[in-house]
């Protein structure tokens, strides 16, 4: 963690206290990890192993979950299947053992791609707009500055469902419903408040003297912003971008209400992966696992910046 380690003197915890504290934390961490480990394990189980009683920890791995995630299958008679040639790859082989053939690709990949495009698109926009506004609020005299900032923050207090009704009507009228552009604009507007608050905190900490000096050397205000302030704010911009990305990546309420096919992202799609007789748990787990990988990597890489993003910039250390 980035929080400064201050050297304890007389207040050092004793080795025993440390060991006890450590073992309690490790216990909690292990318990908290069980559901996540279970998701990954279930993704490589056969459907029978996934729903066995008692739950299986040791099993023969199977690719069926991933196959069912990426393909659609149709049921055929064994006679018909015998008339076909050799199976087309592993997934077809697994399908044929269940009297099915692979009919085509599933919608998972397009949904995943939508998630990528919408998350990255809205992040770039929100960070760009947020950086400009944050600089404006930080450096210029803006009339009603505090009111505007609070207004920007208060846009986050509305339940998403409440905003979804008029947005649904508005998008239907102007032709943005179920489009990627519509979702990008929507997520940008949700994220921009976080971006402004966070980046204002970061830019406030860059001494004004740098810009003043640059301007005395002949830069215009805008050049000073681009060449002096932006390089100094890189860390803050990166941290902010990651928070915007996580929100857009994980968002469900707007996605489920405002998209139906064309622009649907992965979160509304994964829960409706249906197998025979209910949810196809290995396939759902496979879809979930792939969806979680980028975020887990992010978390490990940027744990130093987590705190500020989480608290809207309220906690500075």
């Amino acid at each position: 963690m980035s929080i400064a380690n201050t050297a304890h003197s007389v207040v050092e915890p004793s080795p025993n206290t440390r060991r006890l504290a450590g073992s309690l934390v490790v216990l909690y961490a292990v318990i908290t990890m069980i559901p996540l480990v279970w998701i990954v394990l279930t993704s490589v189980k056969s459907p029978d192993d996934a729903i066995s009683y008692p739950p299986k920890v040791f099993f023969t791995p199977s690719l069926e979950g991933f196959c069912n995630l990426f393909t659609t299958r149709s049921r055929q008679t064994p006679e018909f299947i015998r008339t076909l040639g050799p199976p087309q790859g592993t997934c077809d082989e697994i399908a044929r053992s269940r009297n099915m053939v692979v009919a085509g690709p599933s919608n998972y990949v397009p949904r995943f791609v939508n998630s990528l495009i919408i998350a990255f698109g809205s992040t770039v926009l929100a960070v760009a707009l947020g950086t400009l506004s944050a600089y404006g609020f930080s450096r210029f005299r803006v009339p009603l500055k505090d009111d505007l900032l609070f207004f920007i923050l208060s846009t986050r207090m509305m339940p998403p469902i409440a905003v979804a009704i008029p947005i649904y009507l508005m998008y239907r009228t102007i032709g943005l419903s179920d489009t990627r552009l519509g979702m990008i604009l929507l997520y940008t507007s949700v994220n921009v408040s976080l971006a402004v608050w966070l980046l204002k905190g970061f830019i406030d900490e860059i001494p004004r003297e740098y810009e003043e000096a640059a301007m005395i050397d002949g830069y215009t205000r805008f050049q000073a912003f681009v060449k002096v302030v932006l390089p100094q704010a890189t860390t803050g911009i990166a941290a902010t971008a990651i928070f915007c990305l996580i929100f857009a990546w994980n968002e469900y309420a707007f996605a489920v209400l405002l998209t139906s096919g064309n622009a649907q992202t992965a979160p509304p799609f994964i829960p409706i992966i249906i197998g025979e007789g209910g949810q196809d748990w290995p396939a759902v787990a496979a879809g979930t696992t792939l969806f979680l990988v980028p975020i887990v990597l992010f978390t490990v890489l940027l744990r130093k910046h987590l705190l500020r993003g989480i608290t809207f910039g309220a906690v500075r250390k």
């Binding site: 929080i3 400064a4 050297a7 304890h8 003197s9 207040v11 915890p13 206290t17 060991r19 450590g22 934390v25 961490a29 908290t32 559901p35 996540l36 279970w38 998701i39 279930t42 729903i51 009683y53 739950p55 947020g130 506004s133 404006g136 210029f140 005299r141 207004f151 846009t155 339940p159 469902i161 409440a162 905003v163 009704i165 008029p166 604009l185 940008t188 507007s189 408040s193 301007m215 215009t220 205000r221 805008f222 469900y252 309420a253 489920v256 209400l257 979160p267 509304p268 994964i270 829960p271 949810q279 759902v284 979930t288 887990v296 978390t299 744990r303 987590l306 705190l307 989480i310 309220a314």
Partner: protein, 319 residues
Amino acid sequence: MNDLSASSRITYGAVPVQAAVVRRIRGLSDKVLAWLFITPTIVLLLAINIFPLVWTIYLSFTNYRANRANAPVKWLGIDWYQTILTDPDIWAAMQVTAHFVFWTVVIETVIGFGLAFLIDKKFRGHGMWTTIILLPMMLSPAVVGNFWTFLYQPQIGLFNYVVGFLTGRSASSFQMLGDVTLSPWAIVIVDAWMWTPYVMLICLAGLRSIPDYIYEAAEVDRASKWRQFWSITLPMALPFIMLAVLFRGIENFKMFDMVNLLTGGGPGSTTEVASITLKRAAFESWRTGYSSAFAIILFVTVFGLANIYVKALNRVKSR
């Protein structure tokens, strides 16, 4: 005034002059630039946040239905508001929401602060374990909430199996999602699993912000560890704890995604939090006017409570 007009004629860079004057001569003026920098954000928020909000306010006074866009719209005044405030279902939903917010915030704060307190002891490897604990809150509540329905399956679910194993009951004897007394706890458990690390992180920042010399002084005064905790640690970390409570409170008041996928508000309406009621009214029975009025009532409630709370928080901070 005279020296101003004199300095505006100077050649650039010859003498260090007031930056403000220099700015007025070259490039875009600050006024124009401020306007250019801030306007796009405000325009976007007006278009996608404020305009819909105003529209919602308008719709809440009408009998408009989104699935019959061409029907004539009738102005009803405050009828919906009266209907909602006297509707027992709405009060039930608010009660479910209040219970949900209360229990999640209490549990997350107690466990979160406890974990932060332990991590602050800086045992070996605390950085790695902290990162592991943080993982659940980075994940999509919808996607992970959906998977919890699998863990909660009566016969085959891991949760039921483990609880059954520990309590000696059979794993199929209780239904976390299908039982009216257990289902509210099922959503509290998942929320606590996801968001306790969030509270922990904020509390950790609070604990790390307490300077060591205070504890050293307490040691010199022979104050017991117990006394130090009650007189130093807790009061100084309190603003941070309150901040965590505020953020979790607002978020859980709006809770939708996880509950929608875990229980959908069921069984019956035992886990029907406000957002689920809103979704049912808006997108299932298409009572747009009614749901808009409820949305406004919710927004005003959150806004009002948050404001009162922030005032209290500032009082604690300034102590």
